[in-house]
Amino acid sequence: MTLPARRQPASAVSFAVTAEAHLDDVYGYLVYLTRDRTLAEDLAAETFEKALKLWRRFDPRRASARTWLCQIARTTALDWFRAEERRRRREQAVARSDVAAGDMPEGLSPELEAALAALSAGEREVIALRILLELDGDEAARVLGISPTAVSTRLSRALKKLEERMTVHV
């Protein structure tokens, strides 16, 4: 009789291996969230820096490494959004974003890129998590800090909006 395989504790798995495995996921998620590849690169680096510090706290029984990294990435991005908002407020440049419009991933059709760019960051991030990273409802809910039902609703609305935008462009 063989015992069921136990999940290895975080310390047993190399951080470098985990980072390598999920680097594209984190970067892709941040590109969708920020619409800025350069910014996404910086935020991804910051995310992994934070993750390394917290690595010993990571418990694979609570969430997968990808989910955990996406949670850190989201917090990092939100911190950046907050800092940006404060900066914009100080400069009194209301409603002006420095993020270049249309700086979306390469390989998308211009219509889809424009439609995605027209969505809010909240809508894009749910598409990134569920479609791009193919996280299941529970994992996405964990990253976003909401219920799986709310994730479904948010995704449904985002896709509907995206479809509408596509129709307009077509």
Partner: protein, 339 residues
């Protein structure tokens, strides 16, 4: 939403640039800090630690309950010039036969008046005797003890009903010098249920009174010499005579007080309570279990108090945490809407 569009999104998944990959590899080469102690307390460890804590708590309660109960008879408290010693017999001692528990063999044998010093001594003895006949005998013997030691019976109450519990209460005065003998003989009259001994030093106040008497006597002698002088005018003589009369009154008062203090120290008061009430044997057996239960009850009470005290703060903390979380979420949503 068409599957074609979704496939397009999936196919165009961004790939991390090499510069980022290199940065992350460099970061990963660094060694992370040691995990904090609290974060190492996993759910599984907690499930082991909790029952162990409970077991340790129960063991501690058991050990405390098993420790010999500190009898107050072992305690002699000295405060200033006064010494009070209380000896309350434990339940365990109740089962001792009268002959095996004389005062000399008890824990409080060291508690005795200091020879050569004036001390107020008093004691209470609670004894159990077998039946009404024994009660009558013990009462008579207690009275004889007082008289044989040169003391007397200050009061006696004897109650021997046809049915029920009989009892006698005696107040005996015995010379302080023979106090220990009196206690030893009286303790042998029955099974000791309880005892209390009180000793208060009177020597200091007696010395003070003596000093004041000597001073007053000197004053009187001095006033007499002054009054013997022929050169005094009438007014001066009247003043001196008034002072002399006052000093004599004071001397009389001081001498009375000194006599009273000496009388207090000369005789010790011993109250003896005799009863025929039976001792329940279950009491001794239940003692330790009762104590264990009592300690557990105290632990529970302390825990309840802690909960009552801390509970509102915890609740408030949770509410604040929820409010902050809600606020943070709405702020995040707003940020993502704008971004």
């Amino acid at each position: 939403m068409s599957e074609h569009l979704l496939d397009q999104i999936r196919a165009a998944k961004p790939v991390a640039p090499d510069t980022l990959r290199e940065r992350v590899r460099t970061q990963a080469a660094a060694l992370p800090a040691r995990r904090p102690l609290l974060s190492r307390l996993t759910q599984r460890r907690f499930l082991v630690a909790l029952p162990m804590t409970l077991v340790v708590g129960l063991l501690a309660a058991g050990v405390i309950a098993k420790l010999p109960q500190e009898s107050s008879s072992d305690t002699a408290v000295a405060v200033g010039a006064a010494t009070t010693a209380t000896a309350e017999a434990s339940r365990g001692r109740e089962s001792l036969p009268a002959q095996s528990a004389p005062f000399q063999n008890s824990d409080s044998v060291a508690i005795a008046p200091t020879p050569g010093r004036l001390q107020r001594v008093d004691a209470e003895l609670r004894l159990r005797v077998e039946g009404l006949d024994e009660l009558s005998n013990a009462t008579k013997r207690a009275m004889r003890v007082a008289q044989s030691l040169g003391g007397y019976v200050a009061s006696v109450q004897y109650d021997a009903p046809a049915r029920g519990v009989g009892g006698a209460n005696l107040v005996l005065r015995v010379p302080s010098a023979r106090f220990q003998t009196a206690i030893a003989q009286l303790s042998a009259l029955g099974t000791i249920l309880g005892q209390r001994i009180g000793i208060e030093d009177l020597q200091t106040s007696a010395n003070d009174l003596t000093d004041q008497i000597v001073d007053t006597q000197r004053l009187i002698a001095q006033l007499r010499r002054q009054l013997a002088s022929t050169s005094l005018v009438d007014e001066e003589r009247a003043v001196l005579q008034a002072r002399l009369a006052e000093a004599r009154r004071r001397l009389a008062d001081l001498q009375t007080a000194l006599r009273g203090t000496r009388a207090e120290g000369a005789l010790a008061t011993v109250q003896v309570s005799l009863t025929t009430e039976a001792i329940t044997p279950a009491a001794e057996k239940e003692g330790r279990l009762d104590r264990l239960g009592e300690i557990l009850a105290w632990e529970g009470t302390a825990l309840l108090y802690a909960l009552v005290l801390v509970g509102p703060f915890v609740l408030l903390g949770i509410l604040v945490w929820l409010a902050l979380r809600l606020r943070r979420r709405s702020e995040e949503t707003r940020l993502l809407e704008r971004a």
